[in-house]
Symmetry: C2
Subunit: 264 residues, 2 copies
Amino acid sequence: MTATAVAYPDGKSVREACRRGEFSSPTAGLALGYIQANLVVLPKEFAFDFLLFCLRNPKPCPILEVTEAGEWETQNLAKGSDIRTDLPCYRVWENGILIDEPRKITHYWRNDLVSFLIGCSFSFENALIESNIPVRHIEQGVNVPMYKTHIPCQKAGVFGGPLVVSMRPLKPSQIVKAIEICSHFDKAHGTPIHFGAPETIGISDINKPDFGDAVTIHEGELPVFWACGVTPQAALMQAKIPFAITHKPGHMFVGDLRDKDLQK
Amino acid sequence: MTATAVAYPDGKSVREACRRGEFSSPTAGLALGYIQANLVVLPKEFAFDFLLFCLRNPKPCPILEVTEAGEWETQNLAKGSDIRTDLPCYRVWENGILIDEPRKITHYWRNDLVSFLIGCSFSFENALIESNIPVRHIEQGVNVPMYKTHIPCQKAGVFGGPLVVSMRPLKPSQIVKAIEICSHFDKAHGTPIHFGAPETIGISDINKPDFGDAVTIHEGELPVFWACGVTPQAALMQAKIPFAITHKPGHMFVGDLRDKDLQK
């Protein structure tokens, strides 16, 4: 376990360090065993279309919690949390264009903003590690590699766009075991959507992820692809709605619920 | 099997008979094995609050499908269907007050209307019958009895209100088996929420249901209560939104998908 992982053993310690402005890095490998979540914040005007987009695309967008307009505290994932300050880094979008990557969004807050907390594959990584399945980006201390694919999401209202995936390299026997484990984690993207040839799903260069960092693929390993909670960011870029806020990829909300609470 | 059940062996035959104006009765026991669904239609302005209400109350409101604003054809439950004509009977609501019970809603249709198809306990009744568990209202050829309880739903935006339940009388050994069967039908209200003493959940007279018809409870049987898709109608009455349409309780949308498609 790295020194950073030791310093942040649970969700609350990560959120408080973010709130104090002391932590602004990716959260993979931190607070292992605690639920991590993607964040999408948008005006209520677009909330129905977006919620429907999530329901129609449950693999990239498993809903963990949705707040009422204007509320910044999550009720289920972590009581006492503040969505405006408790993530390491945010992205602010205007008309589909990234205009800011702030460490707080308090000054951007509005009373018509609805927050969506969406399951994250980091939530099953602890279960993989406990079964001796390597998680390469944690081993290498970098952000998980993420790629846009050519697989279209099902549209809902103004939202559509390509499926974004995360990638972990594994040997075939490990892939079998990982699929078995992830089949119990529907709320954290569940089973992989593909493994092997990246070009089959529209990824031209596995060494150049669209988000996050490249990782080493060893001899005998295949890249394994899971639906990713960054998919909504691609949808926001495409929909060009006037205003939205998301987490910065890999920089997640960490809750008080445990990964096992997501297991079915 | 009754003559009516023989005449309507599948979802399409029920929908077409409704569309031709030839059928306007409750749908329990018809097209056994085909998915039945509750209907809620409301202006897009209220669609986010209502969808969130469903997500926060998945037992009474399991979402099967949500249409885009203005669309009247379901994409998953039944291609070629017409939500405006294919149910036996509808209810039209203004400011929370029932103003009409028409057999078609074509003349009420507006381009901003969003339709919610919500799972129905009729979808597990076929599985009960196949396991020799009696379904009293089908035996007696009446509508299922439904009751308002004093159990509050979780609120979402303008929507809240009491949980509505349906009731089937069973012997203890049958209750055990029914719970086992229904545990596989999350999208059709799943397991019961209560059995035995009706007053415990706020039902003062089991012989006077708030919706549907009373049924006989034999010696040795207990009333068993399941969350019911009429719950949104209680929420609509309480929210008093300007306009909404629902099915008339017991008069469901019958799809082309099979009950087994809902089983997990």
